[in-house]
């Protein structure tokens, strides 16, 4: 009888897991649970928004008309496209196609950067138009105190979202680096998947922010 040499465990398999499959399941579960905490985190702000919108519907409607709908809509399309490229990056990882992983991660990164650039343009215009809450806040056609609450929520919610985008862009660079070092294969690419989950979540937050902030009352 021939004796078989023991098969070395895959380099990526950590000692406390039985298999790469189990390790991957745990990694994605961990990210999903984190995303639940993030949903509740943003959820608190959405709750505040709902309360104040129900209290000051007119001021919120007038304030919403001052947001730049073209930039908001463009950013929505940009993020949706970035989710597509991110999903394609994960797909490439599942197929073990290193070049494609990097290509799609780069596209995702560029789209995310474009989003932040447009956001910066928006903020600049908003501040020029006296919409930043504070001493220089001014608005016509609505109770300024109530409208200022809308813009407090607007800047905090989009600002918090932008911070999440910046974290996402940084993580994308890390994953790009890991990919370039040949760390991923068909068998092991959990970090790419987990990156995808985070990125799609940030997209989902914006999917809700856009109609609630930009589209309250465009028909008057």
């Amino acid at each position: 009888m021939t004796s078989q040499a023991a098969v070395a465990p895959p380099r990526a398999l950590q000692h406390h897991f039985d298999s790469l499959e189990q390790q991957r399941d745990v990694a994605t579960l961990g990210m999903w649970i984190f995303l639940v905490t993030e949903a509740l985190f943003f959820g608190g702000l959405f709750t505040a928004y709902l309360v104040y919108r129900s209290m000051y519907p007119h001021a919120f409607a007038v304030a919403s008309e001052h947001t730049l709908i073209a930039l908001g809509a463009a950013n929505t399309a940009i993020l949706i496209t970035s989710s597509l490229t991110m999903a394609l990056a994960v797909h490439a990882a599942q197929e073990g196609n290193q070049k494609s992983i990097i290509r799609f991660l780069v596209f995702t990164f560029l789209l995310g950067t474009a989003f932040l650039v447009l956001k910066g343009v928006e903020y600049t215009v908003d501040m020029r138009d006296h919409l930043l809450p504070g001493a220089n806040f001014a608005i016509a056609g609505a109770n300024p105190g109530h409208a200022e609450i809308f813009f407090s929520l607007y800047f905090i919610m989009t600002g918090l979202h932008a911070i999440h985008m910046i974290v996402g862009l940084s993580l994308l660079v890390v994953i790009m680096y890991m990919t370039s070092k040949g760390r991923f294969s068909k068998e092991y690419h959990a970090p790419v998947e987990v990156m995808g989950l985070y990125w799609h979540f940030v997209d989902i937050i914006w999917i809700f922010l856009f109609p609630l902030l930009y589209l309250i009352d465009r028909h008057k």
Binding site: E95, F210, H219
Partner: protein
């Protein structure tokens, strides 16, 4: 344990197109006066878009029962926070 399900690229492209169409729709609907139903329409569309992202881009549809439970848990607790809070505020000042 779950073996990895590879979603075909064609599915991703289809979902992408649907998401863009729904974004366009939500902007157009905002310019129609539906009275109190405008925010409802906007949120229904947003919820539908988010569901597509969760189910297909995030592989929710192909995930284990445990992960599906985690997703439902998020919706459940978010639901409590939003509905109970609004139930409070909307039933004040009723004489």
């Amino acid at each position: 344990m779950t073996s990895e399900h590879i979603v075909p690229k064609s599915t991703y492209y289809a979902i992408f197109i649907i998401l863009l169409v729904m974004t366009y729709t939500t902007v157009q609907v905002a310019y129609f006066d539906l009275g109190p139903w405008n925010p409802v329409a906007a949120l229904v569309i947003a919820f539908f878009k988010a569901s597509l992202v969760v189910l297909f881009f995030m592989h929710g549809k192909y995930s284990s029962k445990l992960i599906k439970l985690v997703i439902l848990g998020a919706l459940f607790w978010l639901g409590i926070m939003l509905s109970f809070t609004m139930m409070d505020y909307l039933t004040r000042f009723m004489g």
